[in-house]
Every structure is written in structure tokens, then in C-alpha cells.
């Protein structure tokens, strides 16, 4: 097996899911190559400067970027070959991944692949949304927490999910003024503890409101907001103009499923988990037998579930390569599935658990349909 162009396991995406998948597989002796298009691994972990919730086992009370540092240290200690600044542009029928790195194109033949390509923020279109000064919340978070740059001084946050609330708080920590948070629904979408934190700092959270327009010459100078009713009808009488230079969009993420689709994994549309995502079974295997999925790609959740799913995908791939016994696999997989179940408790977790179960059901009916049609 030539190391440059062949590997036992290719892991695409070095965020929490991918890192955990690679670490786990390498621990079992699988020759693993981890690929990421960024110059540094860690995915979105490093801009998470807030403390994680959950049990101690899941790193509760630890800031995201510390968890990231631990994972990176582990990867460095392992045998995993890490290819950074490398784009995976293709996934061909013979399990060859097309890699683009440093101006050259390379094939990487992998016996198994874990796709952990993460997610992308959904845009919201409204008049003036292309003006400089309208940015995704994740983009703002990257700028303030990773690069120490404040993209605006007076902010309108659109969306009161956890991302919106947390980034609003982080903007205040970075020295900006959050003029308002608008939320289209009649209730806060994220955890109340996050909402309470910013309310205490004097930030109004306007429910049943939306942004109508971003105005300005060459960049945002003002935003127009208005109340909406339960049927998304705008109440023009309640229109207000806010003096802001940054409109931050936090309306959700969607899985980055393009590579999975190129790999001919069957996708399913699961709205609460972000949209189109690769259907998979409880071992994280996709509809294409050599391909596993993990993390936000498999449904938008959190870093903690991403890490567990990554571990599981890595283990499943290792098992399928004969690197651990059925008993050992069963024991470890069960533990992970227990962890995942625990992470999917509570009012927020409930919906996600339901959706993940739905994915399993749809995966099974895929196989049934294909079996009755005479198999692939």
C-alpha cells in the first residue's frame, strides 16, 4: 500500500467529529489519513470560547477551544497522517477521493471513508442583504474570537437560537453594542440561560419580529425591523429603524452534504436537523457501504454529539476492516450510544432524538426498497 495515494481509512473534515473518528480508528491500528481544507484542524471548536454544558464526561464547564486543544494533542501523538490545506473535490465509484493540495491534484484510494464535513450557515434574504456589514453569526464569531477583529460596533442579531444568543454575548465581550435581537417566533429559540445573560446586559430580545431591510451606501448603516404575526405577515405600522453597522444572521445551519452526494450516498430531508443530510444507520454507516458519516453532516446538533458520533464512525470503520472483535465493538458502541442518548435528553434534545430515529427508519426503508428491487 503506497502511503501517498492509498490509505485504509480516509477521514474528511478535521472538526470534532473527524478528529475523534481518526483518533479512535488509529487506536485500533487502522492506517488513517485525515484531510481538511483549512490550514489548522479543529473545525468550529476554536471559536467556541464559551463553556460547554452537559456532563463532566462530555467536557462540561470546559471551553470549546480547550477541548479542541486536547484533541489536537491526541492527534499529534497518534499515527494519523494529517493533510491540511487539502480540498477533497471528488469521490469516485472506485473509492478514489480526488484531493487538491498546493496546486496539485492527487488521488487517494481509501478502503473506508468517514465524511465529517460539518455545516454551513443558512442565509436569510431580505432587501440589502448583500451589503457589506451583513454577515453570518459564525462568520462574526470567527472574526471576533479567532482573529480579534470586530466587524461592527452596533449590531442587530437576527435569530435567538443558541448561536444567536451566544454570539450576541460574545460581541458584547468583544466591545460591541448589541442594539437588539430579533426572533421571528413568539418565543426564544435557544436556552433561556443564554437569553437571560444578554437581557441582564440590557439587550432587548424582540419576539415575533424580523428584519426587513439593511440600508446604507456602501455598507450597512441602518436596519429596518418589523413585527410579524403567526402567519409571517408583516405589520408595517410597527416598523422601526435601528442605527446599526452590523446585521448578524443566526437562522440555523445546514449540513454540508455535497461530498456525500458526490459519493452517491442517499440523502434525506430532515428539517429540524438542518435539511438534506446523508441517511445512515445506528453505526453511522451511510447508504454506501464503505462510507460513514458523523457530526453536523449527519444532522445539526452540537460538538459533544459530534465527538461521540465521530468515535462511533471510527470504531465502525475499524470493525469493518477487521481491526476489532464483534464483542469489543459491541461493548464500545453501546457505551457511545448511551452517551448519545444522554446528550439527547431534555426539551431540546428530545426533538433531535426523534429526528435521529427517523433517519434510522428511513435508512432501513431504503435498504428494503432496494432489496425488493433486486439489490444494487
Amino acid at each position: 500500500m503506497r502511503p501517498e495515494t492509498e490509505t485504509e481509512l480516509a477521514v474528511v473534515g478535521a472538526g470534532p467529529a473527524g478528529l475523534c473518528a481518526a483518533i479512535e480508528a488509529a487506536r485500533r491500528g487502522v492506517r488513517t489519513t485525515l484531510v481538511d481544507e483549512n490550514p489548522r484542524p479543529g473545525g468550529q471548536l476554536f471559536k467556541q470560547i464559551h463553556k460547554f454544558f452537559g456532563s463532566h464526561r462530555h467536557g462540561a464547564g470546559v471551553r470549546g477551544f480547550r477541548i479542541g486543544e486536547e484533541l489536537l494533542a491526541e492527534i499529534e501523538r497518534s499515527d494519523v497522517r494529517v493533510l491540511l490545506d487539502t480540498v477533497v473535490f471528488g469521490f469516485h465509484d472506485d473509492n478514489t477521493l480526488g484531493l487538491y493540495r498546493g496546486g496539485t491534484v492527487l488521488p487517494l484510494r481509501a478502503r473506508r471513508t468517514v465524511l465529517a464535513t460539518g455545516a454551513l450557515e443558512k442565509p436569510l434574504t431580505f432587501r440589502g442583504w448583500t451589503l457589506p456589514g451583513v454577515m453570518g453569526a459564525g462568520a462574526v464569531q470567527t472574526m471576533i474570537n479567532l482573529h480579534g477583529v470586530l466587524p461592527g460596533a452596533r449590531v442587530l442579531m437576527v435569530g435567538s437560537g443558541n448561536v444567536g444568543l451566544i454570539v450576541a454575548y460574545q460581541l458584547i465581550q468583544a466591545g460591541a453594542t448589541v442594539v437588539a435581537v430579533v426572533e421571528a417566533l413568539p418565543a426564544v429559540s435557544g436556552w433561556h440561560v443564554h437569553a437571560a445573560k444578554i437581557r441582564r446586559l440590557g439587550v432587548p430580545v424582540l419576539l415575533s419580529h424580523t428584519v426587513l431591510e439593511a440600508r446604507g451606501g456602501d455598507s450597512v448603516e441602518q436596519a429596518v425591523i418589523a413585527p410579524i404575526d403567526g402567519r409571517c405577515r408583516i405589520d408595517g405600522r410597527g416598523e422601526r429603524r435601528l442605527d446599526v453597522d452590523l446585521v448578524c444572521i443566526a437562522v440555523g445551519l445546514r449540513p454540508l452534504s455535497e461530498l456525500a452526494e458526490l459519493a452517491r450516498c442517499r440523502l434525506g430531508f430532515v428539517a429540524p436537523l438542518g435539511g438534506f443530510l446523508p441517511l445512515h444507520d445506528e453505526t453511522m454507516k451511510s447508504s454506501r457501504p464503505e462510507v460513514y458519516v458523523a457530526g453536523d453532516l449527519a444532522g445539526i446538533e452540537e460538538a459533544s454529539t459530534a465527538m461521540e458520533e465521530g468515535k462511533l464512525a471510527g470504531l465502525s470503520a475499524a470493525r469493518s476492516l477487521g481491526k476489532l472483535s464483534r464483542r469489543e465493538y459491541a461493548r464500545l458502541a453501546e457505551e457511545i450510544m448511551d452517551n448519545l442518548a444522554e446528550l439527547r435528553l431534555g426539551s431540546f434534545g428530545e426533538e433531535r432524538r426523534r429526528c435521529k430515529d427517523e433517519i434510522l427508519l428511513r435508512y432501513r426503508s431504503l435498504n428494503a426498497a432496494e432489496a425488493s428491487a433486486g439489490g444494487r
Binding site: 481544507e37 470560547i49 442565509p123 480579534g148 477583529v149 454540508l256
Partner: protein
């Protein structure tokens, strides 16, 4: 206008990072070695990265993760470089483009 964050309750930004210089549309801009070009540009208070071909609309940074192509500029003569995922190098020449 300098948009660098000077004080932060948890993070520190200025320690030990080497400084480099790039030019953006002829203007000298100071940057930290290794940071994305877009960060340096935003830090310098520049918000318009390019203008669109048909409607001449100003564009800046939107996703900052290399996916949306809002932030593309011509870097050292190469067009359509994603400035949000490309690290600065000393002496880089960055220009707006009509694409």
C-alpha cells in the same frame, strides 16, 4: 479606523504575533502573520472588498468559511482568491475586482 479588539475578558490577541504589511487597493495595511487576508482588511476598517459585474453592488464578507465567494479579491495578480481562508504574506498585493 482600527477594528482590532484591544481588551477582552477571556482572550488575548496581540501577544507574540509577528506583524507583516500588505497593500489593499494601493493602501498599506498592517496585519498579523498567518491571519486571513479578510481579517486584516476588516481590521483596517475597510468594508467593501469588491463590486459585482452587472449591478456594481458592493460586497464584503459573509460566511468567512470559504463557501460563499463574497470576499473574493485579486491577490498578487491571481483573481477570485477567497480572502477569508487565505493567510496574509508580507508584501501581498490585494486588489478589488469587478467579478
Amino acid at each position: 479606523m482600527n477594528r482590532r479588539i484591544r481588551r477582552h475578558p477571556i482572550l488575548e490577541f496581540d501577544t507574540g504575533r509577528a506583524r507583516v504589511h500588505i497593500t489593499v487597493n494601493g493602501r498599506q495595511v498592517e496585519a498579523f502573520a498567518g491571519e486571513p487576508i479578510a481579517a486584516a482588511i476588516l481590521a483596517a476598517g475597510i468594508r467593501v472588498f469588491r463590486r459585482t459585474a452587472r449591478l456594481d453592488s458592493p460586497r464584503g464578507v459573509y460566511c468567512a468559511i470559504g463557501r460563499c465567494t463574497d470576499c473574493v479579491m485579486t491577490v498578487d495578480g491571481t483573481p477570485s482568491v477567497r480572502t477569508c481562508v487565505t493567510p496574509v504574506e508580507d508584501g501581498m498585493v490585494v486588489e478589488s475586482q469587478r467579478v
